[in-house]
Amino acid sequence: MPTPPQTSSAYELEHGQHRHHVTYPKFLWKCFCAATDGGPLFYAWMIFLTVVTLVGLSAWSHQVTEGMAVTGMSDHVSWGLYIANFTFIVGLAAGGVMMVIPAYLYKDRNMLDVVIVGELLAIASIIMCLLFVTVDMGRPDRFWHIIPVIGRFNFPLSMLTWDVIVLNGYLLINLHICGYLLYTRFQGRTPKAKFYLPVVFLSIFWAISIHTVTAFLYSGLGGRPLWNSALLAPRFLASAFVSGPAFIILTLYILRRLTDLPISEKAIKTLLQILRVTILINLLMIVSEMFTEFYSGTAHTASARYLYFGLHGKSALVPWIWSAIAMNVIGAFLLLSPKLSKKPSWVQLACILVFFAIWIEKGMGLIIPGFIPSTLHEIVEYAPTITEWKITLGIWAFGLLGYSAALKTTVQVLRGRVSVNT
């Protein structure tokens, strides 16, 4: 971030002290005020998101009291929309690292100004992930069983315990980085490198780990041939580095439109260049997987056959996966075209397309077909119920609510309108 003006209070400069017990609550209160203040469009957006969140909460209440039979899941397809979204959003969280690397490792000035957008996305995403896991639990009242020491934590055998550690760790890392940078800016001080730079470099490796561990949840299961592939972890990372930057590019354009945060065109260009590479890697991995599944024609390819072409007359996922592939290809073409990718509207369209394409690919294109056919080769299809959609949209709305509030506050703090002196 650019060097802030030295406007520490006179008391602090004189006494060389930091009255954190006074300043920090003031910071939190000012942030809360900044997050709840804005124009009519802001209020409309936040109220809309709040309403959707509450609809989701009500639906979750219904699910907890009636049991998970209100979802479309079954003993055959025992993970559905919730875990599909969880898997996708872990990728979004990891995608922010594509800003952190140029900003901090290669000291890209332009990226440094906006990298906080990616770090805040990581926070909102991890919170959404934790919520999706919670609503997927059959007994959320027994949440404490998974806490180490208090409960029984099956570490290191269970990959889920690794996921608990890496996801919560990543949340804390990004909360620290964003919190520290915003707080120091609020105080009008220069942030001290030793308090955040090591954490930033840790976050680069940690981001890779969160999605690798999440992939290992699936790729370690020998009984699920569609998932039991060495390519799964690389595929997860590749698609994360498509969906993450795509979402961030869209956010940057929106911020440029609605706020006075200076967003350099170079920062967007850097993300675009990263996207051009990762979209091709992702497409290559899809091709590699399709070849491996269909050339050998072994019994293990039944899930892939169901997904891409239908199996024994059941083909609910076929339109979804081919739409995803089409959107990926069109998006790639738009991003790679020298002429079209110069125009923001084509870039934005491409980002929207690839974002949804990856959402389908990771969700309906991976989690669901992993269960079809079942381990005894029965074909039981899955479609989410209204309750599942309500809860899913509710969590997305809550995440966007938090992200919008955080961005609003960040803009106010970075532009100096919220500081210890105001």
Binding site: T71, R139, D141, L160, G223
Partner: protein
């Protein structure tokens, strides 16, 4: 503030107690109140549900951490709950594994004719949900000449045995290298000394990772509270086996633990009219199961996955 508000002074109104308040702040306060009320309304059913769970149940320790008196307290509490909910006197026992025993189960596929009595017996013995006609056993009708389950089916309603078919019941294989045990994040499932893989229904958090991991479709989830009419409840229950499970937890075949640790046989074996099933102690060299393993050509389901099942299949010829 942004350039939205053109007036130099925000409009204010005078409220009792609070005095001068800007219209914006007043609106925000109303909004916040409405929001909190809506939040309370939305969360109410869930909060009521959580409040109905007794503290003893909420904070019950893992099965392995309970000492004998704590275990007795838990069993009594569950028996009382059963009496309150169903009006039936049940006995829930926690039988320890018999020493020097490791259970093995074998099915003679030349004899099994797909009649499905084993499925029905399991359904009744283990207090399964009636609405879904649940059972731990699934009988596959397989194509003669192929072991490929892709060519098999579990949904057949014609008379059995059909021409050119053979029948293969599949249930929990009680693996020695069980993927379900490895993946459970809270150790709610583990292998007992006699080889049976069990679930602590009061510890399971319902994440269903074990269901994803099992290659044999052996695990079942309670998508809702099971519906078992009082007069059909089997009152002879085991804590780790056929006590009536609550909603939101996993369950599986336990080789009728409450029977076999008492010296009896699993319900499925007793119900089988063709005599296709063989059960016994793998550590006893004189047992029938050991004879089968020695004299019959035995195979394991999905052996290449390395799960090391204790469930064996064989043909007579």
């Amino acid at each position: 503030m942004t350039t939205q508000n053109k007036k130099t002074e925000p409009r204010s109104i005078t409220l009792p107690v609070l005095g001068q308040v800007t219209r914006r702040t007043a609106l925000k306060a109303v909004g916040a109140t409405l929001g909190i009320a809506a939040f309370g309304k939305a969360a109410q059913p869930m909060i009521e549900n959580f409040a109905s769970i007794s503290p003893e149940e909420m904070f019950q320790k893992h099965y392995k951490e309970l000492d004998e008196s704590e275990r007795d307290t838990v069993l009594k509490r569950l028996e009382t709950q059963s009496k309150e909910e169903y009006g039936v006197d049940v006995t829930i026992r926690d039988l320890p594994p018999l020493p020097g025993v490791k259970y093995g189960y074998a099915i003679n596929l030349s004899v099994c004719n797909g009649n499905g009595e084993c499925m029905r017996a399991c359904h009744e013995e283990n207090n399964h949900d009636r609405d879904s006609n649940q059972s731990y056993i699934r009988v596959l009708e397989m194509q003669q000449g192929s072991m490929d389950m892709e060519k098999g089916t579990t949904t057949f309603t014609h008379a059995v045995p059909a021409e050119n078919k053979f029948y293969m019941p599949v249930q929990c294989q009680q693996c020695d290298n069980p993927p379900c045990v490895h993946v459970c994040p809270v150790e709610a499932t583990w292998t007992e000394k006699d080889g049976i893989v069990v679930v602590d229904y009061n510890w399971c958090i319902g994440c269903r990772y074990c269901e994803a991991a099992c290659p044999y479709h052996a695990r079942r989830f309670n998508w809702q509270t099971p519906n078992v009419p009082s007069e059909q409840i089997n009152p002879d229950q085991g804590y780790l086996s056929n006590q009536i499970r609550p909603a939101g937890v996993m369950e599986k075949c336990t080789f009728c633990l409450h029977r076999v640790r008492d010296g009896r046989l699993p319900a499925c074996l007793e119900a089988c009219p063709t005599g296709a099933r063989v059960f016994g102690n793998l550590l006893d060299p004189d047992s029938e199961i050991r004879w089968v393993l020695k004299n019959k050509r035995v195979f394991l389901l999905k052996e290449d996955l390395g799960t090391q099942p204790n469930f064996f299949y064989y043909f007579d010829r």
